[in-house]
């Protein structure tokens, strides 16, 4: 806790001390390019740019540029001051008092006040707003979050209030060490009440929107592009280098790459399997860095699941027979890391426990798998048949094809692949109407519990329907523990033992980035919370 405050104050001091940038020089001392624009590809149209309504990644990226919350993240994912300069915590760790920046104003000139945050947070919690992220007030641990969300208490009772225009007081229901981290989430950003009152649902249209971030929305053509330009009223405007940011919707990843190579984009995703050859041809443009996401297969341990995979030996055998190195090195080829634990190694303050099967060679794993299958009573004369469920997507398909063959070639398992379109897939998996199904999770915050909570028996995201009292208890204890690492290690060991899910790999962000911009990309930020205001384009010949 203290560490967090210190780091905030320290970073704040640094920001204060850094001299205004000399004209035409990037923060790293290189000369800046003449035109400072950033054009990037997004897969699909964003859901919304309303901070309390947005629910997707590409929408949140835009919202982080348009609005500014209490804290921002720096290139390494540490907290740095946003609208809040600093905060203090009461002795009982229940009351946080934030001091807001007096010079912050909205793009229409109105000062940003504590009341705007109070309005935004109440709006988030209000059932009438129907925010898909309403539950986030619960994650933040705000006092009275539950009753307010249920509509049983007026939103005024939510644990947040404005002491004066520049002092925000937050009351939590219980101590929550990572509370300040949650204030970088888009749904906690302030909203301009007067604009929302005037325009209603239309307030996010470019002609109406008023925002307090480094950029303002100037153009939005659904399914084509959205453009945001420098906000001249932003308090740190003079340190903003990129003038205009454009998100282009390009559905096809291969077409996007073609257009990148034609010079139309500054950033695009690399299609699966193409990273090595692109890296060879464009060493300064192909980037790969770890992300805070995992990819795994769920066994169905509910009553509806098949009998065969209720047997732990079968689950272990199937897991051991998956050659993760082949998946990451030959299928995806984008610098992903093979996964033997559920939690990615990139997670902050998390030390990856050594689970046995991670240390074996694949031959050893295969041999062990064959042995276990025989023990469980499956063999050439009684082959196991399983169905693997995944949703329509090129990468999921490639992984499914490869794993099916690994199981078949190593264990003689008869695998049926079942590919469903997204909504049907979610329904089928949610109803536990599968044998083995794909799963993936990206961390909500940079701490191991965001992943491990998934295997808690009560979790709504526990698709495997895994139920282990010891795991539940270890995770409950970890919530308030001073150092939860021991608990996490134990949970991972239990998972490796009982194998309710098969961890396959941990994500990497794999991008082509134009040589001018790539140097400023926050590759160390595993959550990939990037801010256009921190980017810059250096001159390249």
């Amino acid at each position: 806790m203290n560490i967090s405050i210190k780091s905030v104050l320290f970073a704040s001091a640094l920001a204060f001390a850094s001299p205004a940038l000399a004209q035409g020089t990037a923060p790293n001392g290189m000369p800046l390019a003449d035109t400072q624009t950033f054009v990037y590809r997004v897969l699909d149209e964003h859901s919304s740019v309303d901070p309390q309504i947005v629910e997707d990644v590409s929408g949140s990226e835009i919202v982080r540029d348009l609005f500014e919350g209490l804290y921002n993240q720096d290139a390494d994912g540490n907290l740095v001051p946003g609208v809040a300069l600093s905060h203090t915590v009461s002795d009982d760790k229940l009351t946080y008092t934030f001091t807001l920046r007096p010079e912050a104003v909205w793009s229409d000139g109105t000062p940003v006040t504590a009341g705007d945050f109070v309005y935004g947070w109440r709006r988030l919690a209000d059932p009438e707003t129907a925010s898909p992220y309403q539950w986030f007030v619960d994650v933040m641990g705000l006092a009275n979050a539950g009753p307010v969300m249920a509509g049983e208490m007026p939103t005024e009772e939510l644990g947040v209030k404005a002491i004066d225009d520049h002092t925000l007081e937050v009351t939590l229901a219980g101590p929550l060490p990572y509370f300040p981290l949650t204030t970088t989430h888009a749904s906690t950003f302030p909203s301009p009440k007067w604009v929302i009152d005037e325009f209603g649902a239309d307030w996010t249209k470019p002609e109406n929107i008023v925002s307090n971030g480094a950029y303002v929305l100037t153009e939005h053509v659904p399914q084509e592009r959205s453009v945001r330009t420098r906000n001249e009223t932003y308090w740190d405007n003079e340190n903003t280098i990129i003038n205009e940011v454009t998100a282009l919707v390009i559905n096809d990843v291969n077409v996007a790459l073609t257009r990148y190579l034609a010079g139309e984009l500054d950033r695009t995703e690399v299609p699966a399997g193409q990273y090595p050859s692109l890296k060879e041809e464009y060493p300064d443009q192909a980037l790969s860095f770890p992300r805070l996401c995992n990819y795994y297969f769920n066994f169905n341990l509910s009553d509806m699941g098949p009998e065969a995979t209720q047997d732990v030996r079968v689950r272990q055998a199937l897991s051991y027979a998956v050659n993760r190195d082949v998946i990451v090195d030959n299928v995806l080829q984008g610098g992903q890391s093979p996964a033997y634990t559920f939690t990615p190694s990139a997670t902050a303050n998390f030390e990856v426990p050594t689970v046995d099967y991670a240390t074996w060679t694949q031959e050893e794993r295969n041999a062990k798998a064959v042995e276990l299958m025989a023990e469980a009573g499956y063999g050439p004369d009684n082959p196991l048949s399983v169905t693997y469920l995944y949703n329509t997507d090129e990468n999921h398909k490639k992984i499914a094809i490869a794993v099916a063959q690994m199981w078949k070639q190593t264990l003689g398992v008869d695998v049926t692949l079942e590919n469903q379109e997204w909504q049907t897939f979610l329904e089928t998996r949610g109803n536990h109407d599968f044998q083995i199904a794909r799963g993936a999770w990206c961390g909500d915050y940079n701490e191991a519990s965001t992943f491990l909570d998934l295997v808690q028996s009560g979790s709504g995201y526990n698709d495997a329907a895994y139920n282990n009292a010891e795991v539940d208890q270890l995770l409950a204890e970890a919530k308030t523990a001073e150092d939860p690492q021991a608990n996490y290690t134990r949970v991972e060991e239990i998972l490796a033992d009982e194998m309710p899910v098969i961890p396959i790999y941990h994500y990497a962000g794999v991008y082509m980035m134009s040589p001018g911009i790539s140097g400023s990309w926050p590759v160390q930020n595993v959550e990939q919370n990037w801010y256009s205001k921190d980017l810059y384009k250096v001159a390249t010949e």
């Binding site: 096809d252 291969n254 790459l257 073609t258 299609p271 399997g273 193409q274 050859s277 082949v326 090195d329 030959n330 299928v331 080829q333 329509t392 997507d393 090129e394 398909k397 490639k398 499914a400 094809i401 490869a402 099916a404 063959q405 070639q409 692949l417 079942e418 590919n419 469903q420 379109e421 909504q423 049907t424």
Partner: protein, 311 residues
């Protein structure tokens, strides 16, 4: 909609349907055969199609590999070591997942041919029965049935097909039914027009007069006389079915892995075409093109052969 023309052949076929009314006598079939045998493009197409069909159903016996086994040494390095080669038996090289492309094309051609033929069969059967009944019964029934066709024609079909696959899940049979459903409407209109003109012929009137039941007349007299137009239309329908399936595959709603179709293979080949594995596009596209070419030419040839006025 997609811009795959659902019925580019329809008007010509319709015209032909008109003209078929003038066709009389037994010698027609003999004449037609002679004319068809003289049509070089159509005859070549017949041979090509036979070759494609043999390839699709027996091609796997020429290869030591199958359509699903991954060669782990090739996976991830297809552009460098996955080229077509006669020496190692991978005649068409490898697909992007390190599987033998020859066997995948064989099996994909099989599915595409089946979708094309079964789909048009459904369209032809439903359309013929519907049109013949409407045309022969006539009056209010005809009016109501044709109004229904008019209504159904204003439905954006490609989306209904997508919805069908979404709602009822993906399966080959759903694909057959869905694709067949798109095409029966035109068929029914053509058959109805045709029936109307046959209806007034003496032999039908004689049958009616002797008290033969309506459906027996339709089955015994009307339908056989419609055969010519139906065959032509069906031939021209097959390529459209195959094209439609390729679009469905592009959307990811096609057949389940490890099965594939030409459309799915082409879609995959297109995705990787700029990464040095062009053969993944060329082989399936080649078979796709020659198959559709052949059907077009055979359809054209049949129409010309059965239509004495033309040429």
């Amino acid at each position: 909609m997609t811009n795959i023309p659902l019925n580019p052949q329809q008007p010509k076929t319709a015209q032909m349907a008109e003209r078929m009314t003038e066709v009389k006598g037994r010698s027609l079939w003999a004449d037609a055969r002679t004319r068809f045998l003289r049509n070089k493009a159509a005859m070549v197409s017949v041979f090509v199609l036979v070759f494609v069909a043999l390839f699709a159903f027996f091609g796997q016996f020429l290869s030591p590999w199958d359509n699903e086994t991954i060669d782990w040494n090739v996976l991830g390095n297809v552009a460098r070591v996955g080229q077509p080669s006669l020496e190692n038996g991978h005649y068409f090289g490898f697909d992007d997942s390190g599987r033998d492309l020859y066997n995948r094309v064989v099996q994909g051609t099989q599915i595409s041919l089946m979708v094309g033929i079964v789909g048009s069969l459904i369209a032809v059967i439903v359309g013929t029965i519907y049109g013949a009944v409407a045309g022969f019964v006539g009056g209010r029934v005809d009016s109501a049935m044709m109004r229904f066709v008019d209504i159904a024609m204003s439905i954006p079909y490609m989306f209904v097909l997508i919805l069908l696959l979404v709602v009822f899940g993906r399966s080959i049979s759903m694909l057959f039914v869905g694709i067949g459903l798109i095409a029966w409407l035109d068929m029914s209109r053509i058959v109805r027009g045709q029936t109307l003109s046959i209806k007034n012929k003496e032999f039908i009137e004689a049958a009616v007069a002797t008290g033969v039941p309506t459906f027996t007349i339709i089955r015994r007299h009307i339908v056989p006389n419609l055969l010519g137009v139906v065959v032509v239309y069906a031939t021209l329908l097959v390529p459209q079915m195959i094209l439609t399936e390729s679009f469905i595959s592009f959307l990811g709603l096609g057949v389940q892995e490890p099965l594939t179709s030409l459309g799915a293979l082409i879609s995959e080949g297109t995705a990787t075409m700029s990464y040095g594995t062009l053969w993944q596009l060329f082989f399936p596209l080649g078979f796709f093109v020659i198959t559709i070419f052949s059907f077009f030419f055979i359809g054209d040839g049949l129409r010309d052969a059965l239509d004495p006025k033309d040429r």
